[in-house]
């Protein structure tokens, strides 16, 4: 046995290597040559989303009333997408690394600007006017070897002045009345008001998460309250939706804050959300979350006043856009 193995070891090794290479190559080829579904006519209210059923990240339109219905690809492929005021932002793969970029498209679908990103896409937003485009990416260092090794960068592009701010870190931050100077400052989930200068975002500094409010023109921001993450302003500007944990250890829930009264309302059955919610209109929110039954990312809608439970609107999808 031993001498038999010694004599043929190289031959067996070469045969096994060949088998693994051929089998894997065949598998990848078969997936690459899968046929593409044909577009079908849609009726009723539509939602734009990223279809994750085919796996090719196709930005598609789908009927709100048919969670597992047909989806028509728009031709864009993105990891995160948002559209408002005729402007679309698409965070997508750009090159080896892998590296990513933010592509800004006008209403006719042509790219007006591409901005290289420092990390993996997480959030994307466009202000209601279509003039301010923002994004959040995760920076993971060279690998996951660094303890606690992640950080976020949030930047924006102002179409009016053609200026890019790569990270809100350059803004002047005030934490509970005091200027913040430490190196470790992370921002995520930017939302810009209809005046195109007031904004809300999440700030992580000195180990705490804050909701911050700021001004893009003065490049200054200050903390509002501890806890909320990924704020999203309603179209009428009266309410702010965000995720927060209500217990020390626990999953995020979707919460809506009435800015005038300061009253918070936890939306029922939304725990497990990890998204920056999108307002479909002044009374309805949509967000991506993992479906408890399929374990896949799905899109839900929920009344913003807490009067009802979330309803599934799209299976295997993410990044809902009104």
């Amino acid at each position: 046995m031993k001498s038999w193995f010694a004599r043929y070891r190289v031959v067996i090794g070469v045969v096994l290597v060949t088998l693994v290479v051929v089998a894997t190559g065949g598998y990848v080829y078969r997936i690459a040559s899968r046929p593409v579904e044909l577009a079908q006519a849609h009726t009723g209210r539509l939602l734009t989303l990223i279809d994750q059923r085919g796996g090719n990240d196709a930005v598609s339109t789908a009927e709100l009333s048919a969670p597992d219905g047909s989806r028509n690809p728009t031709g864009l492929r993105c990891q995160r997408v948002y559209t408002a005021g005729g402007t679309t932002v698409c965070l997508r793969l750009a090159g080896v690394g892998p590296t990513f970029e933010a592509a800004v498209l006008n209403s006719s679908g042509s790219v007006v600007k591409t901005i290289p990103l420092p990390g993996v896409p997480s959030r994307a937003r466009v202000s209601a006017s279509g003039k301010v485009v923002s994004w959040t990416v995760f920076v993971t260092g060279d690998s996951y070897v660094a303890p606690g090794g992640f950080s976020t960068r949030t930047g924006y592009y102002d179409l009016r002045t053609d200026t890019v701010v790569e990270s809100l870190e350059v803004f002047h931050a005030t934490v509970e009345g005091k200027p913040y100077t430490a190196a470790d400052a992370n921002y995520w989930g930017l939302t810009v008001a209809s005046d195109d200068r007031t904004f809300y975002a999440t700030f992580l500094g000195a180990g705490r998460r804050w909701l911050v409010k700021g001004d893009l023109s003065t490049r200054a921001l200050e903390t509002v309250r501890i806890g909320p993450e990924c704020p999203s302003l309603s179209p009428d500007g009266k309410r702010l939706a965000y995720k927060k944990t209500t217990r020390w250890v626990g999953r995020w829930e979707l919460v809506v804050l009435d800015l005038a009264s300061g009253e918070e309302r936890v939306l029922p059955d939304t725990n497990g959300i990890d998204d920056q919610a999108a307002w479909l209109d002044d009374t309805t929110l949509a967000y991506g979350a993992i479906s408890g039954s399929t374990g896949k990312s799905s899109v839900y809608q929920v009344p913003a006043d807490g009067s009802g439970k979330p309803v599934l609107v799209a299976t295997e999808a993410s990044s809902p856009v009104p």
Binding site: R9, V10, I12, G13, L16, V17, V20, V21, A23, T24, Y27, V28, I31, A32, Q52, G54, G55, N56, R77, Q79, R80, L93, V96, G97, P98, T99, I115, P116, L117, P118, G119, V120, P121, F138, V139, T140, G141, D142, Y144, V145, A146, P147, G148, G149, F150, G155, E166, T181, A182, A183, D184, A206, G207, D274, A289, I290, G295, K296, S297, S318
Partner: protein
């Protein structure tokens, strides 16, 4: 010992390097393609496919690093005890390979993903010391630096190819996870096949010659002055070494180059490392490993000092990355060669594990401390602290070496 080792490899060399070293290098290259494919994909997988927060994984990771350090000791010891480093390394490689296929099965369960990462890291912990023992036992002591240099070069080539394969799959097939995990598994499997069929272990000494070493014998190594010195020097310098992620973030911040260059910075370090690991390893065989190891850390100090020059732009950033790569080339394989030359053959696995574990735990402690520092201090203050820390550590190791040599 020298004669026996030289004879075992006679007529069995590839361009002056023993075939075993090249074969083990190929195993590491394939395994690193597999591992780095997943490392490059994991953030996309967690954020896009699974919608799982990244935060908890970062925290868990510190724990894994600590746990795998301990597993390295186990791997090294078992390899010595069974006198079969190849078999023990094989178990470690196989463990990591299997996790690649299990990712689609655990889905979005944070517990499941955390568990898989833990098993993957456990496999890495288990195999590192036996693998280095395999390399060190296949060459005479005066060629250890070259051997480890060749191995680290091949290893780094794999680490650079992995993200490239992920990119090719992502750009052609989209973000669907299965092809990436299956391809990653295939590379890992090729690594295991290469280990089993193409790596030839030097026949173990006759079993009757000596009793298998016990744990005591491994720890008793530290009583030997030269070995204890390497361990202490590596740990002290490890305490003053900040993690790569911090280096890259700080290089970008202080030099003032665009933030979007950040994902490309690790390539600068890796490319320099892979080009210089072999020549510097060879040099360490001639002029002494201590000198090269020490010089590497002096260059790291230069990197830290460069971080103090504000807004230096691309010239400063590139200089810092090149020096950071030279630092790796001068210290990573050289430390294994230096320690390896001071450990008896039957304790090679345990001894290498002790040195590497000491260094890894010291680096972990330094990363945690530095991360803590950055939460409260400005970039400039943090870099001043890091530079002073490294300068002090360099002085201390010079003293340690002088005193123990006297």
């Amino acid at each position: 010992m020298y004669v026996a080792a030289a004879r075992a490899e006679h007529g069995n060399k590839l361009g002056g390097v023993p075939r075993t070293v090249v074969a083990v290098g190929a195993v590491s290259l394939l395994t690193d393609i597999s591992a780095e494919m997943v490392t490059a994909f994991l953030p996309i997988y967690l954020l896009f496919t699974l919608h799982v927060g990244y935060v908890q994984f970062g925290l868990l990771d510190g724990l894994y690093t600590g746990a795998t350090a301990v597993l390295r000791l186990v791997g090294g010891h078992v390899a010595d005890r069974l006198r079969r480093p190849k078999a023990v390394a094989g178990v470690g490689y196989a463990m990591s390979a299997v996790t690649k296929l299990a990712f689609p099965l655990v889905g979005a369960s944070a517990f499941g993903i955390g568990g898989l990462l833990a098993v993957d890291r456990a496999g890495k912990g288990l195999r590192t010391a036996p693998r280095d023992a395999l390399i060190s036992l296949s060459v005479p002591a005066n060629q250890l630096g070259t051997a480890f240099g060749v191995h680290r070069t091949m290893d780094t080539i794999g680490a650079m190819l992995g993200p490239l394969v992920t990119f090719l799959l992502l750009t052609n097939l989209g973000t669907q996870p299965d092809p990436i995990f299956v391809t990653s598994f295939a590379f890992a499997l090729l690594g295991v096949i290469t280990l089993v069929f193409f790596v030839r272990e030097r026949p173990a000494a006759p079993a009757s010659a000596k009793k298998p070493p016990n744990i005591k014998a491994g720890l008793a190594l530290l009583k030997g002055k030269p070995f204890a010195r390497v361990t202490i020097v590596a740990a002290i310098l490890g305490l003053a070494t900040m993690s790569d992620a911090f280096v890259f973030v700080l290089v970008q911040k202080t030099s003032g180059i665009p933030l979007s260059a950040l994902p490309l910075l690790p390539l600068g370090t890796a490319l320099t490392f892979l080009l210089l690991a072999t020549p510097l390893g060879r040099l360490s065989d001639r002029v002494g490993r201590w000198r090269i190891f020490f010089a590497g850390h002096v260059l790291l100090l230069v990197v830290y000092v460069l971080l103090l020059s504000p807004s230096g732009g691309y010239p400063v950033a590139i200089a810092a990355l090149l020096l950071h790569g030279v630092f790796y080339a001068a210290t990573d394989g050289v430390l294994a060669a230096w320690a390896g030359s001071l450990i008896p053959e039957d304790l090679r696995g345990s001894g290498l594990a002790v040195v590497q574990t000491g260094q890894a735990l010291a680096k972990l402690a330094s990363s945690i401390a530095f991360g803590f520092l950055l939460q409260y201090a400005s970039v400039l203050a943090a870099v001043v602290v890091a530079s002073s820390g490294l300068a002090v550590a360099l002085l201390v190791v010079v003293v340690v070496r002088r005193r123990s040599a006297a």
